[in-house]
Symmetry: C2
Subunit: 314 residues, 2 copies
Amino acid sequence: MTKILTVGEILVEIVATTKGDGFREVQPLKGPYPSGAPAIFVDQVGRLGLEAAIVGRVGDDDFGHLNIARLKADGVDISGIDIAADEVTGCAFVRYRPDGSRSFVFTLAQSATANLVLTEAGEALLDRCEHLHVMGTALSAPGMAKVALQAVDRVKGRGGTLSFDPNIRAEMLHKPGLRDRLASVLERTDIFLPSGEEIFLFTDAIAEDAAIEDLLSRGISEIAVKRGARGASYFAGDTRLDVAAHDVEERDPTGAGDCFGGTFVALRLAGEPPETALRYANAAGALAVTALGPMEGTSTRAALEAFLKEQAGR
Amino acid sequence: MTKILTVGEILVEIVATTKGDGFREVQPLKGPYPSGAPAIFVDQVGRLGLEAAIVGRVGDDDFGHLNIARLKADGVDISGIDIAADEVTGCAFVRYRPDGSRSFVFTLAQSATANLVLTEAGEALLDRCEHLHVMGTALSAPGMAKVALQAVDRVKGRGGTLSFDPNIRAEMLHKPGLRDRLASVLERTDIFLPSGEEIFLFTDAIAEDAAIEDLLSRGISEIAVKRGARGASYFAGDTRLDVAAHDVEERDPTGAGDCFGGTFVALRLAGEPPETALRYANAAGALAVTALGPMEGTSTRAALEAFLKEQAGR
């Protein structure tokens, strides 16, 4: 049985190796790196040894095959990845500005991903999985969103569980219908995985405590808040757990939240207590930022254990 | 009056800086470079100081604006470039193999270019130009091809002239309808600009002499054959002119044929004799290969003169 499924974008990332604003000048780049928030999430689940699958769509080009090869090598079930002839795999060009913010050129709007539909293989995965993870990015384009919402209906309808990471950049929130789609997924969410300020996306509360209380009162079972360099927190009922961030050399924060989420969800579904899941997820996020490239920093359980042991001994 | 118009793809090129086969591994890259065969052609015409314009379509992103800024800076009329909101500018990833051949990932099939339509500004350019240049690449996608063929009808119908560079990679010839479109443009061509073996694309002749004779008998006024490292030749009626290639350090041959074509057509339309046009075009092609990046090697008239003078003194 495939346990953990996600739906959404699979793409390549091209990283600028100098800091600056955008791509209006010739500059050194590095890539293509396998990427896409749902893909990174599911790759992290696969590397932890859990059954994992993704429903997605790529072009029949080097970029699509690069992603498929990586996911397969990391143990992910790739049967739900549709390879579209005569379409192209989406690209994300990313450049860090000197202040740490990022500028992007995305080609997803016109790529195989934008035309995602549920194939027979995708349907089969929906019927087999026990848990679905939804990334807010997968809700940002109408086609992908339709499939993701279908998946939510099917998996929840069958008694499966749902995790949700809003994972949304502020400038995307104006997209028509996006906020409604995010809210409709939140309504059915069991495990909520916001980053920092995202806890305020769906509540009128002003203080974090009140926001958490509001969200938990709506049927969400547990919340893990990712705070980047300020660690992470877990909330469920009256329980609150906090972990501090690890002191690591940051090379590329892209993908860290996805690795955190993949680890947290995988360990919770494997029956680990929240404390363990939070600690390992926090470690996975830390290790992710030390690697250049969004999917290059996914970790095995052995690597997380070694890292936590080394950190405890410091 | 806008004298020389072209229609077709405007894109960015991302160049692999190591040799190898394709893009299934992370590697150092450089870019984005402004590119697209018609864009390079028209940029070369603009740099020679002739009135030049292009009908094309880009996304409202850094890659589109990078191209527009370059063409404008080089004197090209950019009024016919449609900036498509919510669409993306096409990308070409290029990597040289150790044997000098190239592998590509193209995203053009799903990009703003693929949806090229004739805008009001484009119509105005068609009514004003005296000469149209068609690149075979612009005929490779149905939407672009439709606009290019409309342009041929309009410009030839008004008594304008037509130049044509097949500029087609062998693996593209299987595309449905492409060969017919190429043939229909050739039928109305005044200046034909094939590279090497492309002279045999539209004739049953086996020897070059016979192929040239056949093509000239069909209404083509003049033919300039680009032979890369073996120079170039000119044919019209009973005239044959040959020039040897210049001995330059090749850094990137991409775009050299487009620079040759832009220079040849510009000088012929400016009233220069074939011998001068051929010599300058040959120099433009030579200078183009010394620069990394497809549009980086376009030349001013002063640069071509200086280069020819220096070469004559060797």
